[in-house]
Every structure is written in C-alpha cells, then in structure tokens.
C-alpha cells in the first residue's frame, strides 16, 4: 500500500436555498407532496421557456468569491443532452466550457498541516426530478415493475463545485477529502446559500480516486457516487485506495468507471463503465441570454462576504487561548458556534468548552444526535455556569438542573424553581445540621478537636445526607472545623 501515491478529486453538488427554482417561480420547500411544486416550465411542457433566477446567480458568485475564484465577465448556460425520465426536457440546463467561476482554492487543516485544495470551477445548473422504482430486487430502474417520478426537485438551482486533482497527500488523502468537504460545508453554511444537509441530499459528493507509483504518471481514476455523509467521504476514499492497491498488487489494472459507495458495508461496487462515455452533445442554451455579471456588482458582493470559518477559527483560537489540539476537538464536535454563542451570553471560554465538550457531548453521543440538536441553548449553558459561579448550584446539582433543561423543563433557573433544587446556603439551617451531626458522632468530633481534620469526612457525609445533597461540601467542611476548633 505504501508503494502507491493517491490522487483524489471531488465534485460536490449543492442545492441552493433560494425561495424559487432556477428557471421558474415554483417554491423549493423540501418534503412537499409529490408533483405539487411544479409548473409548465419545470415540467418542461412544450412551449415553456426558462428565465434565470438572479438570486441563484448571486449565490453562485458569492460561493466562487469565497473560494477565491475568478468570476466570468461573460458566460453562457449550455444544454447537456441525455434521456432520463426524471429530466422533464431530456436535457439539463447546465454550464459547460464557460462556467461562472473558475480557478480558486480552499485551504483545509489536516493533522496540523495546511493543504490547499485547488478549485477548478464552480457552475450553476438545474436539479433533476426524483424517480422511485417499484418492484424488482434492486430498487433500480432495471427490473422495476413501475417507476414514479416526482418533479418537485426538478429545476431547483444546483451548484457544482469541482476541485483540481489533489496529489501528494499520501495516506492522509481520505482525511483530506473529509476535511475539504467539511470545510466546504461550513463555508456554504456561513454564506447562508444552502442548508447543506447531506442526509437530505442538498449536498452530494462524488469522489475521484486513482493510485500511481511514486514518480510515475497518475493512474486511471474511478468515480465513486452516492457518498452522502462526511464519514462516507473518508471511508469511500480509503476503501477505493485499498481496493485499487490490491488490484494493482495482483498485477491487474484499474478500469475507468463509476462506482457506488455502500453506507452499510463501506465498500464500493462497480457501476456503469465509462469506456462508452455518453456524448452529451453540449451546446449553448439558446433560450437564455448570456450572463454578464457587472464587475462593480461582483466587487460589492466580494466586499460583503462574511468571515470564512477558517479565519473565524483562527480568531477564536486566539480569543479562547486554546491549543491546536483543543480547537480541533471543538471543531470535530461541531461546537464552534455553540461555544462562541455561550461566551457571548456571558460564560468564560473555558466554562463554555467544559460544558459543551463534557456533559453535553456525552449526552449527544448517547442520544446519537448532533450537539446543536440538543434541547439546550448557549444562553441556558451560560446561565447554568453563572448559577454555579454564584454558589447557587454545585457542579453535581448543576448537572441535575441540566437534565431538567434537556428534558424540556425550561431554563436552568426555571428548573431550579420547579424542582426546588438549590444549595443550602442558609448558615442557620446548615449550622443546625452540623451541630446535629457533631452531637450524633462524639468520637469523630473528638478526633477533629485533637487536630485530625481528615476525620471530618464522616461528619460532612452526615450533613450532606441530612440536607439531601443540597449543601456545598466545602462550606460544610469549613463549618464543622470552625465549630470544633
């Protein structure tokens, strides 16, 4: 395995979060009843014509700018011709040799190294409908007894982001692929152009992989489709590297083909061979006028770009004074925004990090959900910490209160009020409990009086029991010692 160098490339499709479709006024809401968000244009009815959505063009230009691309001053849409029932016109309006954005890059951090992933192009196209094949064993079109098509998705603006080949990353290649897609996803989220939900298909990835011996020409590549989670991106590259290496080790050669990734097994299987590549007969879309974004407008968009996630992480690392390793843990846990918001709500960076990466990360892990999906807000966490700092909650009590918040019982203060949870700080009540404990344990009291302070633990336990745990252990200990000195 170590005798091969991988070269990878990624093609990412992102559905834009515009209110309307790419070439008509239909809404783009996910999950509507089939074929309810359609019109003559997105159904490709005879006579209908497309009109380009300016919001989608703007979003694509912003993506291009954020990826350090050059923006075309003049470009055209093109028709990609092929027959498939989920494509109403049997051609897709896409871009071919004149993409809107070209030649950029995205820096990603892997294992303490910065790797610059080149961006070949960013272009705009329309999504297809969705076909559901009924009957047959595979759920694929072959062998199906019936095929149903939902055109709600047809015509949703889709941005394709294609990397240049990424070489020289060696065994880090799978991690680089994952880091790139993660970074891209965070960037798109920051730009607020898409909800980038891989599980819903609003962000989809194809991964190209090839192997070559060091110093030799790049090998034949395969294209792995159906890679629908960050984890799968990494696994798909790794699995394809291993498979190709074993083929090459055995003296075989790699077939240029499309392969399908299987989430359950982590393997890829052969799809259609690319040897008989489809001729898409691209030509400029005559129903649309060329796009000529005004350079002044592009400059305005550029000036208004938000801070990139990477720049933001660097800034936060300084502000929070955390190590590279700690920052990586925060990023991996998806806690950057949460901690930032918790700090904004008044908590110290350390405290915010302690809660989100500690108790809450455990909880999210147990429930199998993202941190951000927990029923607790950064404001709740900040409030909880303030209650601890003010001595109203012990750490142990705070965790109980958090349970209540997570269970939907309200903010920490609301949970405290409802559950009657509070540190017993009324020294009158506490002194009475201490005196009672001393009276009940004369032997222990004597030892403490003799200076054996370590024996105080027994009395502390007794007091805690009497106050049902709602006293601060240190306060109790101090009180016992002072009563007996």
């Amino acid at each position: 395995m170590a005798t091969y160098e991988p070269v990878i490339g990624l093609e990412t499709h992102v559905e834009l979060g515009t209110n309307t479709k790419m070439f008509c006024g239909c809404p783009t809401v996910f999950g509507a009843e089939p074929n309810t968000q359609v019109c003559p244009v997105c159904l490709g009815l005879p006579g209908s014509l497309p009109v380009a959505n300016k919001a989608a063009i703007e979003a694509t230009i912003r993506i291009g700018l954020a990826l350090n691309c050059s923006i075309a001053t003049w470009c055209r849409f093109a028709r990609k011709n092929y027959f498939y029932p989920d494509m109403p016109k049997n051609f897709q309006i896409s871009q071919y040799d004149e993409p809107l954005c070209v030649d950029g890059y995205l820096d990603v951090d892997v294992d303490g190294q910065t790797i610059r992933v080149g961006i070949e192009r960013v272009h705009l196209e329309e999504d297809t409908g969705k076909t559901l094949h009924i009957g047959g064993a595979t759920g694929r079109i072959h062998g199906a007894t019936e095929s149903l098509v939902d055109y709600n998705r047809a015509g949703i603006p889709l941005v394709e982001i294609v990397t240049k080949p990424v070489a020289g990353t060696g065994q880090l290649a799978p991690a680089v692929a994952r880091a790139y897609v993660t970074e891209l996803r965070d960037l798109l989220r920051t730009l607020d152009v898409s909800d980038v939900r891989m599980e819903q298909g609003s962000m989809r990835c194809d991964v190209n992989t090839s192997l070559n011996k060091p110093g030799e020409e790049w090998g034949t590549r395969t294209e792995t489709k159906n890679v629908n989670s960050l984890r799968s991106v990494e696994r798909a590259v790794r699995s394809e590297m291993l498979r190709q290496a074993s083929v090459l080790d055995a003296g075989g050669s790699i077939t240029q083909e499309t392969r399908h990734f299987h989430e359950d097994t982590g393997d890829t299987t052969s799809g259609r061979s690319k040897e008989t590549a489809t001729d898409y007969r691209y030509f400029p879309e005559p129903d649309l006028v060329p796009l000529a974004p005004d350079p002044a407008w592009v400059e305005t968009l550029k000036a208004a770009l938000p801070e990139t996630p990477r720049a933001r992480r660097a800034r936060l690392q300084q502000e929070w004074r955390v190590s590279d390793h700690d920052l990586q843990s925060i990023v991996n846990a998806g806690a950057v925004e949460l901690i930032e918001a918790t700090v904004a709500a008044g908590a110290t960076p350390d405290a915010a990090r302690k809660w989100w990466l500690g108790e809450l990360a455990r909880r999210a892990n147990n429930d199998g959900v993202e941190l951000s999906a927990l029923a607790v807000t950064p404001a709740d966490v900040a409030e909880l910490q303030q209650l601890v700092d003010a001595g109203k909650l012990t750490d142990k009590l705070a965790r109980q209160v958090l349970e209540g918040t997570l269970a939907g019982e309200g903010s920490p203060s609301a949970v405290m009020a409802a559950r009657g949870v509070e540190v017993v700080s009324d020294t009158g009540a506490l002194t009475a409990a201490v005196d009672e404990a001393i009276a009940a344990n004369p032997d222990v009291a004597a030892k403490i009086r003799e200076g054996k302070v370590a024996a105080a633990g027994v009395l502390v336990g007794a007091v805690m029991k009497a106050t049902r745990g709602q006293a601060d252990a240190k306060t109790v200990r101090d009180l016992i010692v002072s009563r007996l000195s």
Partner: protein, 491 residues
C-alpha cells in the same frame, strides 16, 4: 352589410365598434365559411366554435357596457397549432402530441385574448414547423385556395390558406426560416416576421429556439400591422424577448399607404437577383421594384456575399436546436405513448413512442442535428454554422449602412404541385433560400403580394434592420398601394 368574410380586419373592427355588426355575427359568418370550405382546404386542425362564440359574446357585452376596446376587438383569428392554447388541443402538426391540451396560453395568445380577438381554432402546419408545403403535417396537407392541387406553402400553410380562403381575416404564424413569409407569398397574402425577440416565444412549441419568431398573417399590410401591434412587446417569461419599445408599425403602414417613398433607399440583393428564381417570379419582383421607384424610392444594388451560405448554415443550426428541443417528446409525461404493454422497458417505450410519433422530416432533422452536435463534429458543423451566422449579420449591417431596406423575391417559385418536391429534401429546402438570411440575422422581414405568374401569386420580400419593423411596413404598404390586394378565385 357586405359579406363579412370579405372585409379586412380593420374594417371589421370598425364595424363592430360602430355597432354596424356584432362580434358574434362576424364570428358566425367565419364559422359558416369554415364549415363550407374547409373540407376542401384543410386549413384547420381544430375549430373551437364554442370558445370563439363565447369570446365574441364577451366582446359584445363589453361594448354594450361601454368598456374601452382595441381596434381588433371582436375580429376572428386563426392560430397556428404550434402555439399553446389553454384547454384547446395543440398538436404542432404531429401525432406525438395528438389530443394534448395545454394547461396554459402562450403569451401572444393571452395578448390576443386581452385585445378582444376571437380565436376560431388552430391551423394546420408541417410537423413541428419543419417543411415548406404542409405535406409533412401528420393530419394531411392544406390545399392552396388558388389551386387546390397545389401546396399553400409551409410550415404555416394552414394560417395562410385560412386567410386566402376567407375563413379568417387574420392568422398567427411562426417563422423559423420563412414559415410565415413563404406561405404568404404562395397564397397571395401578407406575412410578416417581426424582429427576433420582438414577439414572445413563451408558449411557442420550439423548433429552433434562436430562430423561431411568431408574427402576423393578413390580407392587407395594415391588418398585419394592427395584429403586430397587439402581439409584440417585451415578455418577462421569455429571456430572449427584447425589453424595448415596439415601433409604431400601424402608423408606418398608414404612412406607406399614401404612396410616398421619397428618400427611401432600396437595396437589391445582388446574390438574390440572378438565376435561382423562376422567370415569372423574377419578372414580377422587377415590376414591384419599378413601382416603388415610381413612388420615389431610390434603388441601390448591394452585395451580401455570405448569403449563399445561409441555407447550409440554417440546416445545421435549426436541426441541432430541434434535436434537443424535441427530446422531451418521449411519452413519459404527455402525448402519445407507444408500446407500454408492461413487457417493454422504459427505454423501449420511449424509443417506440418517438419512432411512431414523429414523421420522416422531423426524424431526418433530429438525426442531422444529433450528428452535428456530436463530440468531434461540433466544431466542423454547429460551430462553423454559427460563424457563418455572424458573417451574414455583418453583411446585413454593412448593407444597412447604404440602404434602408433590402428587397428580393420571397421564395424562388410559385405554389408547386403536391408531391413534386417531397422526394428530394433539398428541392424543398430551396423554398426558403431568400427568407433564411433574416432569420439568421434576427431582423424583420415581410412578404407582400406583388402580382401573378401563370395565374399564381408571387411574393415580394422587404427586409429591415433589427427593431426597425416600422420601416418594412411603410415600404410594404406603399407596394400594396401600387400592386393592389390579390383576390383568389372563389372556392
């Protein structure tokens, strides 16, 4: 009241507005005429008598209520079956769309309805507007009212014949390479192709998107201009539609009708004035030019050296675009579906549907276009044709530095007999020899009757710069004032 079917659209509009007749009476008269002659002419694929009478009643009610109406309110019109009409069958002359009822109106149909025009029905055409004779209609050819044994031109032969047979005073055509003008020429009627982008294509079933242009058909230039004014203008649903004001074509036509063309420079296209046209056609066109000179026009011969490549360039560009535009007819969503017996695969059903649904000329062009766009051939064919297109546009631009309009025959030959050109596609394609350059360039062009050759009408073509549609109407109306309006033999 004289025979309502013999009146011009302008006269009918005035008579309805003046209360001398009603929209319903006018509509009935035309429906009766259709019932009487269309069995022989076959201009209509679908007559919507009920819809027409309902529309006419609304016009009459509006007038009774004193609501403002345009000059064509209550005037009947025939619409080429390539434009969508909500709830009314639209076939584009093809089996593959038999029975399809569009859920929406084309933009120009909406504009006609708003202007009070009464849609009588849908007219016959060569399948998907590919042809010059209507012989490629899946529903049988239309017959030329001048001689029922001859073609009425194409693709819009149904619209032109409907007007020439007095079945309608007005009609809508679409012109991709001459489909309005050549039928106008061979039926002795007026047919205008507006500037590309001057009339909306939304709802026009596409043949060749970069060339298709809807436009008016009428018996007089003024009527054509009145209809042009109704349908033209920017449409946000068509991004190739031009966001510019429509020139006042009606005023231009009326100005031309005064017969004064002093100061107007006519360019005679050298490449189109030699051999190529039938002698009778050339002679009639020469007489037309002389008539215009008598009205004060100057004549200049201009050379457009690239026009000779227009026909081959067109027969690469139009088929290329059509091969893609017609891909959607696959039986999955609408229209014909063949062989869906539960045993065939989706691919087989799609393929069988297209095999049974399309006629021979459509298949020929889909194959030419598919080939021309193929990887490895694109540059040599489609790419090269686009370069020719640019050169032709430059020829026009250079010519319009020297002259105001260009003139030529509309088509090289008068109406030919059925079957005389179907065996050799190239002989059929020659019908569009003189009309295609304006499509490639995008400028407006009109065909006006200029006389007869062996008893059959000859068309005179006037081409103008893009957006100067008014200029061609002025010259056309002047020619009409000299040459007169042709009256076909009664059926």
């Amino acid at each position: 009241m004289s025979d309502l079917t013999r009146m011009t659209a302008a006269q009918l509009g005035a008579a309805i507005a003046g209360g001398e007749t009603s929209a319903v009476e006018v509509t009935r008269a035309h429906l009766d005429r259709i019932a009487a002659v269309d069995e022989r002419v076959n201009a209509f694929l679908h007559v919507d008598a009920e819809g027409a009478l309902a529309a006419a009643e609304r016009v009459d009610a509006d007038r009774a209520a004193g609501r403002a109406q345009g000059p064509l309110a209550g005037v009947p019109i025939a619409v080429k079956d390539v434009l969508t009409t909500r709830g009314v069958p639209t076939t584009a002359g093809s089996k593959i769309l038999e029975g399809w009822q569009p859920p929406y109106d084309a933009t120009i149909v909406t504009r006609m309805r708003e202007a009070g025009l009464v849609i009588l029905g849908k007219t016959n055409m060569d399948e998907f507007a590919m042809g010059s004779s209507t012989e490629y209609s899946a529903y049988g050819p239309t017959h030329n009212p001048w001689d029922l044994g001859r073609i009425p031109g194409g693709s819009g032969g149904g619209s032109a014949a409907a007007i020439a047979a007095y079945e309608a005073p007005l009609a809508i055509g679409t012109d991709t390479g001459g489909s309005i003008r050549q039928p106008g020429a061979v039926t002795g009627t007026v047919g205008a192709k507006p500037t590309y982008g001057g009339t909306s294509r939304y709802g026009l079933i596409a043949f060749s998107s970069s060339l298709d242009t809807p436009g008016p058909c009428a018996r007089t230039v003024e009527d054509a201009a009145l209809l042009h004014a109704v349908i033209a203008g920017h449409d946000p649903r068509d991004s190739t539609s031009i966001p510019a004001a429509v020139p006042d074509v009606v005023a231009a036509a009326r100005r031309g009708a005064t017969g004064d063309l002093s100061g107007v420079r006519l360019g005679v296209v050298k490449e189109f004035s030699g051999e190529g046209a039938e002698p009778g056609v050339s002679a009639a066109v020469r007489e037309g030019i002389e008539a215009l000179v008598k009205l004060g026009a100057e004549v200049v011969e201009v050379s457009c050296p690239h026009f000779e490549f227009a026909l081959p360039a067109y027969y690469l560009i139009a088929p290329s675009e059509c091969s893609s535009n017609l891909a959607r007819f696959d039986g999955v969503r609408y229209g014909l579906r063949a062989g869906d017996d539960g045993n065939r695969s989706l691919e087989e059903v799609m393929s069988l549907t297209r095999d049974q649904g399309f006629g021979p000329e459509v298949k020929r062009r889909i194959m030419i276009g598919t080939y021309a766009l193929s990887s490895g051939y694109y540059d040599a064919y489609y790419g090269q044709a686009q370069k020719v297109r640019t050169l032709i546009s430059r020829d026009f631009a250079a010519a319009f530095e020297k002259v105001d309009v260009l003139v030529s025959p509309t088509t090289p030959f008068v109406a030919f007999e059925f079957g005389s050109r179907t065996s050799d596609p190239y002989q059929m394609y020659l019908a569009d020899l003189y009309t295609i350059p304006s499509n490639l360039y995008g400028g407006p062009a009109i065909s006006v009757p200029v006389g007869l050759s062996d008893g059959l009408p000859v068309g005179f073509q006037i081409m103008a710069p893009t957006l100067a549609d008014d200029r061609m109407y002025r010259v056309a109306a002047a020619l009409e004032s000299a040459a007169g309006v042709l009256t076909p033999p009664s059926l």
